[in-house]
């Protein structure tokens, strides 16, 4: 089953249009949605949750249309936004009591387990928490009602590397179950590269690509060679090139490079920057 199926989704605001967006995420996988600030990542997530109604298109989450019983659907979804919007006067203990009335499947023991795991004081007010602690509490809430799908919007931005690493471990742990899936949006590509199975690039509301990370890495490579060697490649094989003191460094399509030239692995961030620039030229 697909955890997320988006078809021709479109939303227009004054001066910005998202889509039409087509995107699929199979269960058991993590999808990294990469895009610069204002690319439409948050809007896409809000459309998925029907927080914002779409202008056109459809969204199916966990096999159900999000225009159906969205309340029941959200019981199976955990969400962490870039800012956890809890009232500052609440303590984690009080948050637990409130969430018990919000989620049918709320598991107090799991929640308390996460509070302990994240070293979050139960009696301290949310407004006194650091950014990292707030995000951890957001994760504790998102995971304590046994969700099947996690939607994380810039949830790792602003966190220190240690906390980010903890969060990544948590996500890997979560997707060990086959019916679980995660959509993680971020502009910090290194985070996504570590954890994601699928990568989607979003730029100015348009989806540049959505592909398996391993396929992307298998398709593109980094060629470090002399200028003359690069000039011998067929047109279109080179996505981008940069002159260095030792020659040329280029991102190329592996299939179109003749045998004998050694190719290095491309990282997703390089690829995103190149595609974003190409998108900008094409626009």
């Amino acid at each position: 089953m697909n955890a997320i199926e988006i078809q021709k989704l479109k939303k227009s605001y004054k001066g910005f249009t998202l889509g039409p967006l087509d995107l699929t995420l199979p269960s058991g996988c993590i999808l990294g949605l990469i895009g610069e600030n204002g690319a439409g990542k948050s809007t896409a997530i809000k459309l998925m949750l029907d927080i914002v109604p779409p202008d056109q298109g459809s969204v199916c989450l966990l096999g159900q249309d999000n225009q159906g019983d969205i309340r029941a659907l959200k019981e199976d979804i955990g969400v962490v936004l870039d800012e956890v919007g809890l009232p500052g006067y609440l303590t984690p203990r009080e948050v637990g009591k409130i969430m018990r009335s919000v989620f049918r499947n709320w598991d107090g023991a799991v929640y308390e387990g996460y509070l302990r795991r994240f070293n979050l004081p139960e009696g301290k007010r949310f407004r006194t928490f650091s950014k990292g602690m707030k995000m951890k509490l957001g994760f504790a809430i998102a995971l304590s009602h046994h969700p099947k799908l996690l939607l994380l919007d810039e949830a790792t931005s602003g966190l220190d590397p240690v906390v980010r690493d903890e969060v990544m471990d948590l996500l890997m742990e979560f997707t060990r179950q086959e019916d679980h899936a995660v959509l993680l949006s971020s502009h910090i590509v290194s985070d996504l590269e570590k954890a994601c199975d699928y990568i989607a690039f979003l730029r100015q509301g348009k989806l540049l690509l959505c592909q398996e990370k391993d396929l992307l890495k298998a398709r593109y490579g980094v060629l470090r060679c002399a200028r003359e060697d690069l000039d011998r490649l067929e047109t279109g094989a080179v996505l981008s090139k940069r002159e260095t003191a030792y020659g040329v460094e280029a991102i190329v399509e592996r299939d179109r490079v003749p045998a004998g030239l050694e190719l290095g692995a491309v990282d997703i961030e390089q690829l995103f920057v190149v595609m974003a620039k190409q998108g900008a030229k094409g626009a």
């Binding site: 605001y13 948050s42 809000k46 949750l49 927080i51 914002v52 109604p53 969205i70 309340r71 029941a72 959200k74 019981e75 979804i77 969400v79 936004l81 800012e83 956890v84 919007g85 809890l86 009232p87 500052g88 006067y89 609440l90 009080e94 009591k97 409130i98 969430m99 018990r100 009335s101 919000v102 989620f103 049918r104 939607l151």
Partner: protein
């Protein structure tokens, strides 16, 4: 919805506006019922009711500031639940005020011969009428600016010096406006989300 209401009630009971309003209503009840021209005009409840209404107003502005409006919609709650939660909160607040008035009446007012019904009607009119006007404006335009309009709309209510029948008519009118205002708020709040004015 239950969770949203729980959160709002927790906040309301921590609001000093709420407790101040309870004290003001109590003190005014005792003070006004001692003056000579019995029965006192039920308008003495206005101040207490208005102070009480600050408590849910502050919750609304805090929801916007804390980004709770976005966050709660990621939970199993809808825009309709959010709006309805606020209407129910105001009804609960009204209930608390009415209970307080009844308690004071039982322990003091009844002995000095004050009629209960006009007071209950008056408190109901003030709370429901102001809520019915203010909430749709808040959900349509945000929290700012709705207060000035509230005062304009409340002025006629304060100016009306009506008998019990008049009070009852006003109460029914307030109930009617309140009932109309509820779906209007849901519609306008959804429209604000649709236009990207929130979030």
């Amino acid at each position: 919805m239950k969770g949203l209401l729980k959160k709002d009630l927790r906040r309301m009971f921590r609001s000093w506006y709420f407790w101040l309003s309870q004290v003001v209503i109590g003190v005014q009840f005792l003070a006004y019922t001692r003056i000579e021209d019995f029965p006192p005009a039920p308008a003495f409840l206005d101040v207490g009711c208005m102070i009480a209404l600050f408590a849910p107003t502050i919750i609304l502005s805090e929801d916007e500031r804390d980004r709770w409006q976005s966050y709660c919609l990621t939970l199993p709650c809808t825009r309709k639940d959010y709006v309805s939660g606020k209407y129910l909160l105001h009804l609960l607040l009204l209930g608390i005020i009415l209970v307080e008035v009844i308690v004071f009446w039982l322990f003091w007012g009844a002995w000095v011969g004050i009629a209960l019904a006009p007071m209950l009607c008056h408190a109901t009119v003030i709370v429901l009428f102001s809520t019915a006007i203010r909430l749709p404006l808040t959900f349509r335009f945000g929290e700012y600016g709705s207060f000035a309009l509230l005062m304009v709309f409340l002025l006629p209510v304060w100016l009306v010096k009506s008998d019990l029948m008049g009070q009852m008519v006003l109460t029914l009118a307030a109930l009617g406006i309140f009932a109309l205002s509820w779906p209007a708020s849901i519609r306008w709040y959804s429209l604000r989300w649709k236009k990207g004015k929130i979030g």
